[in-house]
């Protein structure tokens, strides 16, 4: 039987991991909610953002947290341009084409990264990497606490943006009723590009928050994307709140599963949740409100 202190520490670790999952999943669910497609390039674009953070640190000496506004803005620009020049242009308005195009973008991005950056594991050594906050038996690494707090703050700002600004309202209108939005004069194609850009900007922010404690290789984005897909399904596809709640639930499930069942069997918890949600509530926890 595990010491209750260890279990509490496990829950806290799960919450910290969940913070990053939330940010990755929010981008994915936003793109799904508006464009109604699963963005297969999500992992690859996260990986590219992580490389951007790494090179800004190595070449310009920029701390990952300092580079957050820059990388987030850059990621938005990349997402916007990618939609305008590639996805929107070649999809001819068909969702299945968008799926294939994002898959293609992912394959090209992975291989370009391998070609230009090599397959080596790249890490960032920041002076606060070893700082911890002790809560009972838990030694919480400071960068992970910062990541979790910042992820929550970014989600909050994004939520305010979606509810309080005209662009946010236009995005929600397009997500709810594409044709109706077009009839009232909303430029739907522009909203698609902005939404895709915001989804990728979330990845840019996630990359900055991840790099002080994680590594980057051309494959590293996939480590987060599979779990993000599960979170989106759990929370309800297209639901912001669902992604936030789902992210923390999956983080805690993974953490406690690892503690009780071992790291390999611990992943079963995530798959079980995925299957149960599909069987019992296919729209996800907050799907009906999406």
């Amino acid at each position: 039987m595990l010491d209750p202190q260890i279990i509490i520490a496990g829950v806290l670790n799960g919450l910290l991991a969940g913070g990053i999952y939330v940010l990755v999943a929010v981008g994915l669910t936003l793109i799904y909610g508006v464009l109604h497609i699963i963005n297969f390039a999500h992992g690859s674009l996260l990986m590219l953002a992580m490389y951007a953070v790494f090179f800004l640190w190595r070449l310009a000496g920029l701390d990952p947290y300092v580079s957050l506004p820059l990388v987030t803005a850059g990621a938005f620009a990349v997402g916007f341009v990618l939609y305008r020049l590639v996805i929107g242009r070649f999809s001819h308005g068909k969702d299945e084409n968008i799926l294939l195009i994002t898959l293609g973008v992912s394959i090209v991005a992975d291989n370009l990264a391998l070609l230009f950056f090599g397959g080596d594991t790249q890490t960032i050594d920041v002076p606060y990497a070893g700082d911890i906050i002790q809560v009972g038996a838990a030694f919480l690494p400071l960068p992970k606490v910062i990541s979790c707090g910042a992820a929550l703050l970014i989600c909050l700002v994004l939520g305010l943006f979606m509810t309080r600004t005209d662009t946010g309202k236009a995005i929600r209108a397009v997500a709810r009723e594409r044709q109706g939005a077009r009839l009232v004069g909303i430029d739907v194609e522009h909203v698609f590009a902005v939404s895709y850009g915001i989804g990728i900007a979330c990845l840019g922010a996630a990359a900055c928050l991840l790099m002080p404690t994680f590594y980057v290789t051309p494959q590293s984005g996939y480590a987060f994307v599979l779990v993000a897909f599960t979170i989106v399904v759990l929370g309800g596809m297209g639901s912001f709140l669902g992604a936030a709640v789902g992210g923390f639930l999956i983080g805690i499930t993974e953490s406690l599963g690892g503690l009780f069942l071992g790291e390999q069997l611990g992943q079963i918890g995530i798959s079980l949740i995925f299957i149960l949600i599909l069987l019992l509530k296919p729209t996800g926890l907050f799907g009906s409100r999406a």
Binding site: L2, D3, I6, A9, G10, N13, L16, A17, N111, L114, G118, G119, D120, T121, T123, D125, A129, G130, I132, A137, A138, F139, P141, K144, T213, F214, Y215, T217, P218, Q219, S220, Y222, A223, F224, V227, E254, S255, G258, L259, G262, E263, Q264, G266, Q267
Partner: protein, 409 residues
């Protein structure tokens, strides 16, 4: 009026010149035809996929060695035949590795070199056995590679069985000198053939040196987060953490244990996938005092040091994948020299009887028994201030070991 213009070339000279030209023209194709055929060598590594870095390092080392063999005049006993590398990418997948073997067989390879990952090496060498083609393992830790009775498989480096034996014995010596400070260990391993096999051996052998195994923790590839494993380690409070995993997880686990300030006498890995100069240089605090038992070059070998300089000048890291692949190409070239032919049977016999001197490595003369070189051995290294030094065996040691390591304050 007749003009008397003298030709600048005499009749005799003209005939001699024309004769030479004719002979030359006719002779060239003959000379071309007499050129010995190149020996095709299939070089299979995972240059894409989750161990792409290690695979590309292996490919780099192998192609560098092929270039060096060719520049030095090729295989002399075969009239200077050049080695022709056929490069294959296993994509870190077993089935793709096997498909590469089949494809290269169609192209007429005389031997294969590969494959870094044990599962890929096991399947690929099995496929090569159908054609009796020699398969030289450059990197591949599992002892299954050489215990299946296949006559075509040769591994010059020691497998994890030998590395574990050596690592355990050297850890026993270290611990004895430190008055038996280490009494318990937790083993953390990746869940594939390499990590699981090494962990099983470690768990069975650590008690023989007075170290009890408190827990054996497996993890998947990739693992996003080692916080829980760090919690379990902290809860078990071992003196030593023994790690057996590939590069990404190795680095992530080391960082997590450092961040979580887990106090240990040592982090001691056997065949630690991420223990290299780059890790030591980029994460000097994390890597400080970490110990690894691994394939390492001979620090007293001038040839090894010269190769290290060349590799680093090319902007590459001098990792074990590079010098093991280089060594294996040299071994193949040596066997071809002795066989005097690329005939598979003769080449297999030459490999079987090889006494090749692996100059880059701290090995004795090569002696294959059932495909495993009995002369191979690992070394023990320790990371110190962003660098890596050999601490054992004594004849190769560059510094005394720091054991136990200082505690976190």
């Amino acid at each position: 009026m007749a003009t008397d213009k003298k030709l600048p070339v005499s009749r005799r000279g003209f005939i001699a010149g024309a004769g030479t030209l004719a002979a030359g023209t006719m002779g060239f194709p003959l000379i071309g035809g007499a050129q010995p055929a190149a020996v095709k060598v299939g070089i299979i590594h995972p240059v894409t996929g989750f161990v792409a870095y290690a695979g590309s390092q292996g490919r780099f080392g192998a192609t560098l060695a092929v270039d060096d063999v060719n520049k030095a005049g090729g295989i002399k006993s075969m009239g200077g035949a050049k080695l022709e590398p056929l490069l294959g990418d296993s994509q870190s997948k077993v089935e793709v590795g096997v498909a590469e073997v089949e494809k290269m067989n169609e192209q007429g390879v005389a031997a294969y070199i590969g494959c870094y990952q044990s599962p890929v090496g096991i399947a690929a060498s099995q496929a090569a056995a159908k054609y009796n083609t020699p398969f030289l393992i450059d990197v591949g830790a599992s002892d299954l590679l050489v215990t299946r009775g296949l006559k075509n498989v040769f591994r010059i480096k020691p497998g994890f069985g030998a590395c574990v034996d050596q690592g355990i014995s050297l850890l026993g010596d270290l611990n004895k000198k430190a008055n038996g400070v280490a009494k318990s260990a937790v083993i953390v391993h990746e869940s594939g053939e390499f990590g699981t096999g090494t962990a099983k051996l470690l768990a069975s052998k650590l008690p023989s040196i007075g170290i009890q195994v408190k827990e054996v923790i497996g993890h998947d590839n990739p693992t996003r987060n080692f916080d829980n494993i760090a919690l379990r380690i902290r809860s078990a409070a071992p003196d030593i953490v023994m790690m057996s995993n590939y590069q990404n997880e190795y680095v992530l686990l080391a960082r997590t244990l450092y961040q979580q300030k887990v106090n240990l006498a040592a982090m001691y890995s056997i065949l630690g996938g991420g223990f290299n100069y780059k890790f030591a240089k980029e994460q000097p605090d994390v890597s400080q005092y970490m110990i690894d038992v691994n394939h390492w070059y001979n620090p007293k070998s001038e040839k090894a040091l010269a190769l290290k300089k060349r590799v680093e000048a090319a902007g590459k890291e001098f990792t074990f994948e590079v010098y093991l692949a280089y060594t294996v190409v040299d071994l193949l070239a040596d066997a071809l020299e002795h066989a005097g032919s690329a005939d598979k049977e003769k080449l297999t016999a030459a490999l079987d009887a090889s006494t090749f001197k692996a100059e880059l490595m701290p090995y004795g003369p090569t002696k294959f028994v059932n495909g495993q070189n009995e002369g191979g051995r690992a070394e023990v290294m320790q990371a110190i201030k962003g660098d890596i030094k050999v601490i054992a065996p004594e004849q190769f040691a560059e510094m005394p070991p720091v054991f136990p390591k200082p505690k976190f304050t």
